[in-house]
C-alpha cells in the first residue's frame, strides 16, 4: 500500500473561502437518508458528517481526541461516565448545544425501534439513568461496566442531534453545512453554516453530494471536471487519474476489511479442522494483489489493527495447501463442495470470493460462488459461507457489532458453545486499566485466531481521487473516505 506517494498538498497554503464543492460518492439510491445518527448507503455518510458532529473525534492515527463537541469524556467508575460539552456551540437553528441534547441523542440511539446504527455499541448505557448535572454536563450510569463508551461516542454515526430531532423533521445539527435540498438517489446540496463554532471554517459556500451507481460514470465525471472529488476510485482507473493533469489520488490506509465468513455452527464449518484448512488455503497476498491490486495490507484473520490492544505478536498465517489437505482428510472432507455467497455490496466482495474459490481448487475444494443481488435479504446471517464488509473500529466495539450472540451482524455465529469468550468480553468492558484490558483482549483475539469463523485476507485502503484545485486533504487512518470527507468538508478549500 502506497500512501506517501499520493499525499495531499501541504497544509501550509492558507485556506481560502468560497466556491461550490461537488463530491461524487459511489452507490446510493432511493433508500438514501439523511440522519444525524444513521446511514443506509455510502452517500449518507458524507451527508451525515456535513451536518452533524460527534462528542469525541478520531485523529489521523485513529486516536480519540476531544476535538469534538465534548470538552471532556471521563470514566469515573467502571459503570459511570461523565460528558461535558463545549461552550457556545450552536445548532443550525441557532439553539445552543446543551446537556439535554446529549441525553436526547443517546436516548434516541438507545431506542431500539429507531433502528439506529450505534444501538448495538451503546447497549450498556441505561437510557433511564442519564442525569443532567448542569447545562453542559451529563452523567451516564451504565447497566454494566463498559470502558468502550468513549470509543462509541467517537463513531461518526453517533452524531449529536437537538432535542426533538427526527429524521423527517428539519435536519438541524452542529455541523459545518446545512442541508438545502435532498433528492434521494440523486444528490443533496448543503450550504455553509455561517455561525459555525470553529472559527473560519468551513470554507466552501456550498457542497453538493452526488450519487453514482456506476463508478466509471463517476470517474468520467471527475475527468471531465463535472465533480471535484470522488470516493472509491476503481483501482483500474488510478493510473488514468494519476496520468491526468490536475487530478490526484488520496490513499488513506484505513482498516476496512472484507472477511470470508464461516458459520462455526453450520456444517461443514462446525468442525474447526475445516475452518483451519480454509484459513490455510487462503493466499492472502495473492488476494490482496488480485482483489485490491495491492492497495491494502495483508491481514491475519483478526480485525481492529489500530486498536492499541491489537495483538500483532500472533504469527502471520501463510498459505499451506498440503496442511489444508491433511486437515480436510482428517475431517473426512476431501474434495468437498461448498457454496460461497457474495454480492456487489462493497467493491471487492465478488472478486474476493472468486479468487478464493480459485485458490481452494488447489486443495481439491470446489467452491460455487453465488453473486446474489438479494444477498442482504432473508438469508443474510443464516449462511454457512459468505463474504461481508466492515469498516474501521476498535476491537471491543467491533465485537459488540459482529462477534457476540447479541451482536446484530454475527455472520460466523461466534463464539462457539462453552467458550469463555463472552465472559472475557464482559471482563474487558469492566476493566478500566488499559494494560489489563489489553491482556484480556489478547486472549479473546487468540480464541478467534485459532477457532474463529473469519478469514480476513487484508485491510483495504480507502482510495479516492480529487481535483488538485481542492486543498487540505490529508492522508489518515480515517474510517470514511477522503479523510472523512475532509472532516465534514470543513478542512478543505479551493486553491
Amino acid at each position: 500500500g502506497t500512501s506517501s506517494s499520493t499525499t495531499g498538498p501541504s497544509a501550509a497554503a492558507s485556506p481560502k473561502r468560497g466556491g461550490s464543492f461537488r463530491l461524487g460518492v459511489t452507490g446510493g439510491g432511493a433508500n438514501d437518508i439523511i440522519d444525524g445518527q444513521n446511514i443506509v448507503t455510502k452517500p449518507d455518510q458524507a451527508r451525515l458528517v456535513a451536518g452533524f458532529e460527534t462528542l469525541l473525534e478520531y485523529d489521523e492515527d485513529y486516536k480519540l481526541q476531544t476535538t469534538g463537541l465534548a470538552e471532556s469524556v471521563t470514566q469515573d467508575a467502571p459503570d459511570q461516565w461523565t460528558i461535558r460539552v463545549k461552550q457556545g456551540i450552536t445548532f443550525h437553528d441557532g439553539k445552543t448545544l446543551s446537556a439535554d441534547d446529549v441525553i436526547y441523542s443517546l436516548r434516541r440511539i438507545l431506542t431500539g425501534s429507531e433502528g439506529l446504527f450505534g444501538n448495538a455499541g451503546l447497549m450498556s448505557v441505561d437510557p433511564n439513568n442519564m442525569t443532567k448535572m448542569d447545562d453542559r454536563t451529563v452523567r451516564l450510569k451504565l447497566k454494566q461496566a463498559d470502558s468502550t463508551i468513549a470509543d462509541q461516542l467517537g463513531q461518526y454515526y453517533n452524531g449529536v442531534v437537538p432535542v426533538g430531532y427526527t429524521r423527517s423533521g428539519p435536519q438541524n445539527g452542529t455541523g459545518p453545512y446545512k442541508v438545502q435540498s435532498f433528492n434521494k438517489g440523486q444528490q443533496s446540496v448543503h450550504v455553509r453554516n455561517a455561525n459555525y463554532w470553529r472559527s473560519g471554517q468551513p470554507y466552501f459556500d456550498q457542497v453538493t453530494v452526488i450519487d453514482f451507481p456506476d463508478p466509471s460514470a463517476q470517474v468520467n465525471a471527475l475527468l471531465s471536471g463535472q465533480i471535484d472529488a470522488m470516493t472509491d476510485i476503481p483501482f483500474a482507473q488510478i493510473t488514468v487519474v494519476k496520468a491526468h493533469g490536475g487530478l490526484a489520488v488520496l490513499e488513506g490506509n484505513g482498516a476496512g476489511w472484507l472477511p470470508l465468513c464461516m458459520a462455526i455452527d453450520m456444517p461443514p464449518f462446525d468442525n474447526n479442522d475445516v475452518r483451519q484448512a480454509f484459513r490455510l488455503i487462503a493466499d492472502r497476498n495473492a488476494l490482496l494483489q488480485q482483489v485490491l491490486s495491492g492497495h491494502g495490507r495483508v491481514a491475519n484473520d483478526l480485525y481492529s489493527p489500530f486498536d492499541p490492544a491489537f495483538d500483532s505478536s500472533l504469527p502471520q498465517r501463510h498459505q499451506d495447501i498440503a496442511q489444508a489437505k491433511a486437515l480436510l482428510k482428517k475431517a473426512g472432507r476431501e474434495n468437498m463442495v461448498v457454496d460461497l455467497h457474495t454480492t456487489d455490496g462493497a467493491a471487492g466482495m465478488v472478486d474476493s470470493a472468486n479468487v478464493f474459490a480459485t485458490q481452494a481448487a488447489a486443495a481439491g475444494v470446489t467452491i460455487n460462488v453465488h453473486n446474489d443481488p438479494n444477498y442482504y435479504g432473508d438469508q443474510y446471517l443464516k449462511l454457512a459461507f459468505s463474504v461481508d464488509f466492515w469498516g474501521t473500529r476498535n476491537y471491543l466495539p467491533q465485537v459488540a457489532n459482529g462477534s457476540l450472540p447479541t451482536a446484530p451482524y454475527n455472520e460466523c455465529h461466534w463464539p462457539p458453545k462453552g467458550s469463555n469468550y463472552v465472559s472475557l468480553y464482559q471482563q474487558a468492558l469492566a476493566e478500566v486499566d488499559t494494560g489489563k484490558r489489553a491482556d484480556i483482549i489478547h486472549q479473546m483475539q487468540k480464541l478467534e485466531y485459532d477457532q474463529g469463523g473469519y478469514i480476513i485476507p487484508f485491510f483495504n485502503n480507502l482510495v479516492d481521487a480529487y481535483n488538485t484545485k481542492v486543498q487540505g486533504f490529508r492522508v489518515s487512518k480515517a474510517t470514511l473516505n477522503l479523510d472523512s470527507f475532509g472532516h465534514g468538508f470543513r478542512t478543505i478549500w479551493f486553491a
Binding site: 433502528g115 446504527f117 466509471s216 460514470a217 470517474v219 455490496g345 432473508d378
Partner: protein, 332 residues
C-alpha cells in the same frame, strides 16, 4: 386479380375511423388492466423481505421490525391489489418503500427527464431513419444502399453500452474534451436547461434505434417502388419527385409506423442502460434501483407507465397507419 368493391362507402368512413380508434383505445385499456394484474402478481412474487432489502447491510432487527410494521406488508393480496389499482386510477401510485416518499414525488422529475431524452432521440432518429431508408431503397444496390445496409447492421450489432462508452471516451474524457461525460440535472432543474449534456445520451439512443427503422423503411419502400401504381404514376408522366413524394412515400410509411412504435417502446428499455452510463437521473436508473431494493410500489409504477407508453405508442402508430392507408379504413 379482381378486387371486389369494399363494403364501406364515402360517409361511413369517418365513423369507421372513430369506431376503430375507440376499439383500439378499449383494447389498449384492456391490455393495461391485464398488465396491471401481471405486474402486481409478479411483484408479489419478489422473494425476500423488502424491509431487509431496503435497509440492506445496515439493517438491525429493531429497524427491520420497525420498517415491516410501517409497510404493513401483511394485508391480504387481493386487498392490496384493489387499493393499489384504485390508487393508480386516482394517480396515486403509493409510497416508495425505499424512499418513504410518494412514488409520484420520487419519479416525477425522473419521468420528465426520461421523456425528454426519449423525445429528443425520437425526433432525431425517426425522420433521419425514414430519410435514409427511403433513399437506400431508391438507390437500391448502389453504393449508398450497400453502405447503409452495412453500417446499420454494425450499429444494430453493437450494444448500447458499447456505443455509449465509446462516445464518452471519444468526446468527453480521453480523445476530445468538449462534451460532458455525464448528465447532471440539478434537482428541480430540467434537462433542456443544459442541452449539451444531452448530446451524448441522445446520440447513443439514436444510434441504437435508427438502424432497425432504416431497414424496415428500406424494405417497405422497395416494395412500394416495385408496385404497379408507382409504375403507373411514372407512365402517367408525373415528374419523379412527385412520384416519390406523393405516391411512393406515403404508402411506404404505413408498415413503418408500427416498427417505429415498437422501437420507441424498445427505447424505453434501452434507456435503462444509457441512463446508467451517463448517470442520467431518469426512470431507467430508478428501475434498476427499485428492483435491487425490492421497492415494489416503484417497480409497479414504472412497469405500468412503461406499458402505458407502449400502449399509447401503438395506438398512435395504428392511427397513423390508418391515416396513410385508406384501404384499411373499410376493413375496420
Amino acid at each position: 386479380m379482381l378486387d371486389r368493391p369494399g363494403a364501406a362507402t364515402g360517409p361511413a368512413r369517418t365513423g369507421g375511423i372513430r369506431m376503430f380508434i375507440l376499439r383500439r383505445i378499449l383494447q389498449g385499456l384492456l391490455v393495461l388492466v391485464l398488465v396491471s394484474i401481471v405486474v402486481f402478481a409478479a411483484t408479489q412474487a419478489l422473494p425476500g423481505d423488502p424491509a431487509r432489502a431496503i435497509l440492506g447491510r445496515t439493517a438491525t432487527p429493531a429497524s427491520l421490525a420497525a420498517l415491516r410494521e410501517q409497510l404493513h406488508l401483511n394485508r391480504p393480496v387481493l386487498d392490496q391489489y384493489v387499493t393499489w389499482a384504485t390508487g393508480l386510477l386516482h394517480g396515486d401510485a403509493g409510497t416508495s418503500l425505499a424512499a418513504q416518499e410518494p412514488v409520484a414525488k420520487l419519479l416525477g422529475d425522473r419521468f420528465i427527464n426520461t421523456a425528454f431524452l426519449l423525445l429528443c432521440s425520437g425526433l432525431i432518429s425517426i425522420p433521419l431513419s425514414i430519410l435514409i431508408g427511403a433513399y437506400a431503397a431508391l438507390w437500391r444496390d448502389r453504393p449508398f444502399d450497400v453502405a447503409t445496409s452495412l453500417i446499420t447492421l454494425v450499429f444494430a450489432a453493437l450494444p448500447e453500452f458499447v456505443v455509449g462508452v465509446a462516445l464518452v471516451v471519444l468526446f468527453a474524457t480521453t480523445v476530445f474534451h468538449f462534451l460532458p461525460a455525464i448528465t447532471l440535472i440539478p434537482p428541480g432543474g430540467r434537462p433542456w436547461e443544459q442541452p449539451i449534456a444531452l448530446i451524448l445520451p441522445t446520440l447513443t439512443l439514436v444510434l441504437a434505434v435508427t438502424p432497425y427503422v432504416v431497414r424496415i423503411m428500406r424494405a417497405s419502400m422497395v416494395e412500394v417502388l416495385e408496385s404497379d401504381y408507382v409504375e403507373m404514376a411514372r407512365l402517367k408522366g408525373l415528374p419523379e419527385r412527385l412520384v416519390l413524394r406523393r405516391h411512393a412515400l406515403p404508402n411506404a410509411l404505413g408498415p413503418t409506423f408500427q416498427v417505429i412504435a415498437i422501437n420507441l417502446a424498445y427505447l424505453a428499455g434501452g434507456v435503462i442502460v444509457v441512463e446508467y452510463i451517463f448517470n442520467y437521473a431518469g426512470i431507467g436508473g430508478a428501475l434498476r434501483d427499485a428492483v435491487a431494493n425490492r421497492d415494489i410500489p416503484v417497480v409497479q409504477a414504472l412497469a405500468m407507465s412503461i406499458a402505458g407508453l407502449y400502449v399509447i405508442l401503438n395506438l398512435l402508430a395504428d392511427i397513423a397507419t390508418i391515416l396513410v392507408t385508406p384501404r384499411l379504413r373499410t376493413r375496420l
